[in-house]
């Protein structure tokens, strides 16, 4: 459960979970929504995978991420979002998707 709390404490990771709620996405599609480096985002994905909140499905050179939230975890996500836990002012801009050209980035 510690891993889940750690994963949900970060606003970027919460935003990843919110995006995956719509549909499974590739790492590249997810990266289009964040103004952070690929390596940083990979670190976030690793934390989410470790907490078993997302699953990665490797298809060729592409990794597709899928949501794996239990109801309790979803409630914790909503709680953390409502109270803006770990939401530093500098990261507020991340809450809205970045308007960038779709890249062909894989994994």
């Amino acid at each position: 459960m510690n891993l889940v709390f750690k994963a949900l404490a970060d606003p970027t990771r919460r935003r990843v979970l919110q995006l995956l709620r719509e549909r499974p996405m590739t790492a590249g599609e997810l990266a289009d929504h964040f103004p952070v480096s690929k390596a940083t985002l990979s670190g976030h994905f690793a934390v989410l995978r470790e907490a078993d909140l997302i699953a990665a499905d490797k298809q060729g050179a592409t990794i597709i991420y899928q949501l794996r939230l239990s109801v309790l975890e979803d409630a914790l996500l909503a709680f953390a979002d409502s109270f803006g836990i770990g939401f530093p002012a500098a990261e507020l801009s991340m809450a809205s998707p970045m308007k960038r050209r779709p890249s062909s980035r894989k994994a």
Partner: protein, 212 residues
């Protein structure tokens, strides 16, 4: 379905049949010679004793089919949870059946100590556990598998509905009998509706996939 779960379920069904026969045999003289002493409630129990094993056996065949939907493969966690779930429900049904049989055989003397609150607590807790976990299952795979996005959204929505239903049923266990009946009769159809919704997804054809 794995062999242990199947064995547990069949043992529970056999126990229910044996207990039902024993209860009717214990009051056979009344049933034949003085049927009027068996109240309407008593006949309802006879009905329950006759049909509990039938329902359990029918459920077992449904679970077998549900574990092997046409054109798709369920995730291992999904299979295991379904198997364990039914392997837990069958002994619970057997316990309830045994209690009814005891009430029938002992001339309703045991009615004062109703097992209803305990049954609601256990049933509600099971709904909470299964609802919480069901949202975490990986989507099925295969040519007829539903769209993973739709599956995940529906699982989460249905999981929430199941968990809230379970909590309401658990709360109803502590309520007086009339509010308890109202809560259970309101919540159960909702839980059944969402369970059917989930099953409908397993019948749906393939949808759009995530683009690479």
């Amino acid at each position: 379905m794995n062999r242990v779960a199947k064995l547990v379920c069949w043992l529970a069904i056999v126990e229910m049949i044996a207990v039902g026969i024993a209860a009717v045999a214990a009051r056979w003289t009344d049933i034949i010679h003085h049927p009027q002493v068996i109240s309407l409630f008593g006949w309802r129990i006879v009905f329950a004793l006759a049909f509990f094993p039938v329902w359990a056996a029918y459920g077992l065949t449904r679970v077998e089919r549900r574990l092997n939907p046409q054109g798709m493969v369920l995730s291992m966690a999904h299979r295991r949870m379904t198997e364990v779930g039914y392997a837990v429900i069958c002994p619970l049904m057997a316990g309830m059946d045994t209690w009814f049989a005891a009430i029938f055989a002992k001339h309703q003397m045991l009615l004062n100590a109703s097992p209803q609150p305990v049954g609601l607590l256990v049933g509600g807790a099971l709904l909470v556990v299964f609802g919480n976990a069901s949202a975490k299952f990986a989507p099925p795979t295969g040519p007829a598998a539903p769209d993973p996005g739709a599956w995940i959204r529906a699982s989460l929505r249905n999981g929430w509905a199941t968990v809230l239903s379970g909590l309401a049923i658990m709360a109803a266990a502590f309520a007086p009998s009339v509010p308890r009946a109202i809560v259970v009769l309101t919540v159960l159809p909702v839980a059944v509706f969402f369970a059917l919704e989930q099953r409908r997804l397993l019948r749906g054809g393939p949808g759009p996939r995530a683009t690479a």
